[in-house]
Amino acid sequence: MPYRRKTVRHLFIREKHPAPLPRRESEKVDRKTIIKTDKLSKSFSVSGKQYHIIKNLDLEIYEGDFTVIMGSSGAGKSTLLYALSGMDKPSLGHIEYAGKEITEMNDDQLAVFRRKHCGFVFQQVHLVDSMSIMDNAISTGMLIGQKQKDLKKKAAALFERVGISEEMTDKFPAQVSGGEAQRAAMVRAVINDPDVVFADEPTGALNSAGVEAVLNVLTDINNEGQSIVMVTHDIKSARRANRILYLEDGGIKGECNPGKYVSGDKKRHEMIRGFLEEMGW
C-alpha cells in the first residue's frame, strides 16, 4: 500500500494546508474516537530557556486500539502520554476525552478523572513498597470507593490471568521479580475497568522473559477490547500494536496501521519494519 512522506514543516502548517500523514494501513475500519487533541503544545522552561516538546499536535486515539507511540529519545513520547492521560497539563491546546474537555480541570478533578478512566503502567514498576502486591493492585479501586472484598475477588481473577499465584499476592514488591511486579502493576491498571490503559515503556526495565509476559498480557486485554496507548522504543513491543504513531520534534511524523497482532505474521512485521525504516528508526 502506498504511503506519502511528509516533512516536519508540513505538520506544523497542516491547520491551514491539511496534508495527509505518511501512512501504512492494512485495512480501513471505522473507529470511535476516545481522545482527541487540538493544537496541543507542551513547553518546559529550564534556566530561563524554553523547550517546546510538543508543538501544535492534533491527534485522535481510537477506542479499542492498541496505539503505540514511538520516536527517538527526546521526541516527547512520554510528555505526550502524560498529557493525554491527564497526569500533566498541556501548555496550550485542548484535550477531549470521550467528548469531555479535560484541559480546564484542576488537579483534584484530574485525579478523579484518572482514577475513573485511566490505568497506568510505568517503565519502573512503581508499586508502593510498604503495601503487598494485592493491596497495591486494589489501591485504585479503593480510591473510587469499591468494597475491598469485591476488589480482592476481582484482583484474584486478574492475577490468575497474568500468571501470578495467590501466595505471591501477599508478598511485597521487593520480594518478587521485576516481571511479576510489572504484571501486578498491570492488574492495578485494569482493576477499575479503565477506558484507556496508558503504558510508558512498560518493558523497559525487564528481561526478555518478563517482556514477553507483559506484552502477552497487554495483547490479551486489547483483544478483549481494552484501549491501550503505549510509549516504547522497542520494535518488539511496537509489533503488538494495531496503530503506530511516530513522533519527531514535537509532532507526528508518520503513522502505521498494521492491523491486529498475529503471532508469526511476517507480512505484518515487514510492514512495521518498513514504516520504521522510513521514519529513520
Binding site: Y82, M87, D88, D107, D108, A111, V112, F113, R114, R115, K116, C118, F120, F122, H126, L127, V128, D129, S130, M131, S139, T140, M142, L143, I144, Q148, R188
Partner: protein, 395 residues
C-alpha cells in the same frame, strides 16, 4: 481504615525512629499528667484537712480594740444573734504538765464551751467544758488521747488529776486525736489540754479577759458568708467602722485561696509541660517532613493512579496524628506507673496521687491537636506535589 492501616504499617516499618519521634510527646505527656496529678493530689489533701477543721468556721482576730475590748459576756450575747450559730474564744499557752512523776510540755488551750462544736471535736470519753466551768473558773480539763497516754499512761483517765503550770486540774474528758492527713503528724505529736478560758487567764501573765481571737460559725439556716457579714458588721459597729482593727477569715476563704494557689500551680506546671509537648510536636513535624521526602515516589504513584490532594493530605496527617496519639498513650501509661510508685513512696503522708481523668483528657486532646497542627505542613507539602515531579523524584 485502609489509610489507618497504611499509617500503622509506615510507623511500624521503622520502629526505632518512630519511638524516638514519639519520645518528645511521651515526655511531654508524662510531665503534664504527673505534675498536674501531683498538684491535684496535694491540694485535695490540704483541702480535706481544711474542711475537716470545720468548713463553716470563721476566725476573728482583733488587733486594736479601740478601748472597747471583747469580753466573754459579749460572746454570750452574740451567740443569740440569728445569723450566728455560735462563738468560741480561744487562747493558747504552753505549760508543764505533771502526773505521778511524769512531766511533759503541754499545749494548753483556754477555750469557751462552744469550742468543741466549732472545731468538730469528737469526745472519746467524758464531756467537754461547760459554760458553768467558764463562769466559775473551775479547774477541770479535757485532754487529748496522746496526753492521756503520755502523761497518765492510759486513756481511761476520767477523774484523774494532773497539774498544769503547777495547778491541779481534774480530767473530765478525753478528746480523740485528729488524724486527718496533713495535720496528723503535727497534732499526733502535740500534747493538748483544754481548760476554761477564765482559768487560763488566772494562770498566765499574757492572757487576759480581753478576747483577741475567737471562732464564729453560721446558724443552721444561714451561710458562712451571712455569718461573716454579720460578725464583720458587729465588729465595725464596735470599733468605730475601722476595718483595720480586726480581721475576719472563713475556712471558705482559706479553701478558695488554696484552690487559687492550686489552679495557678496547675496552670504553671501544665504550661511548662505544654511547652515540652509543643517541642515534641516539632519533632513530629521534622520526621514527617523527612518521611514525605523519603516517600515522594510513593506519593507520585498514588497521585498518578488517582489519589487527589485530600487523600494524600489525609494519609500523612493521619500518620502524624497516630504517632502523636501512640506517644500520648505510652506517656499516660508511664505516668500511671510513676504515680503508683510515688504513691507508695509517700504513703506515710496519706496523700493520694491518682491519675487525674481531666488532665488525661486534656493530654489526649492536646496531643491530637499537636498531631493535626504539626502534621498539617508536611501533609500539605505531600498533597501539593505534582504526580509527574513526584514520580521522577530522585531519578
Amino acid at each position: 481504615m485502609q489509610t489507618l492501616k497504611m499509617a500503622l504499617k509506615s510507623i511500624g516499618s521503622n520502629k526505632l525512629r518512630a519511638f524516638l519521634t514519639m519520645l518528645g510527646i511521651i515526655i511531654g505527656v508524662m510531665a503534664l499528667v504527673i505534675l498536674v496529678s501531683l498538684v491535684n493530689g496535694a491540694t485535695g489533701s490540704v483541702t480535706d484537712t481544711i474542711s475537716s477543721l470545720g468548713k463553716n468556721m470563721i476566725t476573728v482576730s482583733i488587733s486594736d480594740n479601740k478601748g472597747a475590748p471583747v469580753q466573754i459576756s459579749d460572746l454570750s450575747e452574740w451567740m443569740q444573734d440569728p445569723s450566728l450559730g455560735g462563738v468560741a474564744a480561744y487562747t493558747k499557752e504552753s505549760f508543764t504538765g505533771k502526773k505521778d512523776g511524769n512531766a511533759e510540755t503541754v499545749d494548753v488551750y483556754g477555750v469557751t464551751s462552744y469550742y468543741e462544736q466549732i472545731q468538730g471535736m469528737s469526745m472519746l470519753l467524758g464531756r467537754f467544758l461547760r459554760s458553768t466551768d467558764i463562769d466559775n473558773h473551775t479547774y477541770v480539763c479535757v485532754i487529748n488521747e496522746k496526753l492521756a497516754t503520755e502523761l497518765i499512761g492510759y486513756t481511761d483517765c476520767l477523774g484523774q488529776e494532773i497539774t498544769l503550770g503547777g495547778i491541779r486540774y481534774t480530767v473530765v474528758g478525753v478528746v480523740e486525736d485528729n488524724d486527718t492527713s496533713l495535720t496528723k503528724s503535727y497534732n499526733n505529736d502535740s500534747l493538748s489540754a483544754y481548760i476554761p478560758y477564765t482559768s487560763l487567764v488566772r494562770m498566765s501573765d499574757s492572757a487576759t479577759l480581753e478576747i483577741t481571737s475567737f471562732y464564729v460559725d453560721a446558724a443552721e439556716d444561714k451561710t458562712t458568708k451571712d455569718a461573716e457579714e454579720r460578725i464583720t458588721q458587729i465588729l465595725l459597729d464596735r470599733f468605730e467602722d475601722d476595718e483595720d482593727a480586726f480581721t475576719v477569715k472563713s475556712q471558705d476563704t482559706l479553701e478558695n485561696t488554696m484552690n487559687d494557689v492550686s489552679s495557678a500551680l496547675t496552670i504553671l506546671l501544665g504550661g511548662i509541660a505544654a511547652i515540652s509537648l509543643i517541642v515534641g510536636g516539632i519533632g513530629i513535624m521534622n520526621i514527617m517532613l523527612v518521611t514525605v521526602t523519603e516517600r515522594t515516589r510513593e506519593i507520585g504513584i498514588r497521585k498518578a493512579i488517582g489519589a487527589n490532594r485530600h487523600v494524600i493530605l489525609q494519609q500523612f496527617l493521619l500518620e502524624a496524628v497516630v504517632l502523636c496519639m501512640m506517644g500520648c498513650g505510652i506517656g499516660i501509661g508511664l505516668s500511671w506507673a510513676v504515680l503508683q510508685v510515688i504513691g507508695i513512696v509517700v504513703s506515710s503522708l496519706s496523700i493520694t496521687f491518682t491519675l487525674n481523668g481531666t488532665v488525661v483528657l486534656i493530654a489526649v486532646g492536646f496531643c491530637f491537636l499537636i498531631g493535626i497542627v504539626f502534621g498539617l505542613y508536611p501533609a500539605n507539602k505531600a498533597a501539593k506535589m505534582k504526580p509527574i515531579d513526584a514520580l521522577h523524584y530522585g531519578g
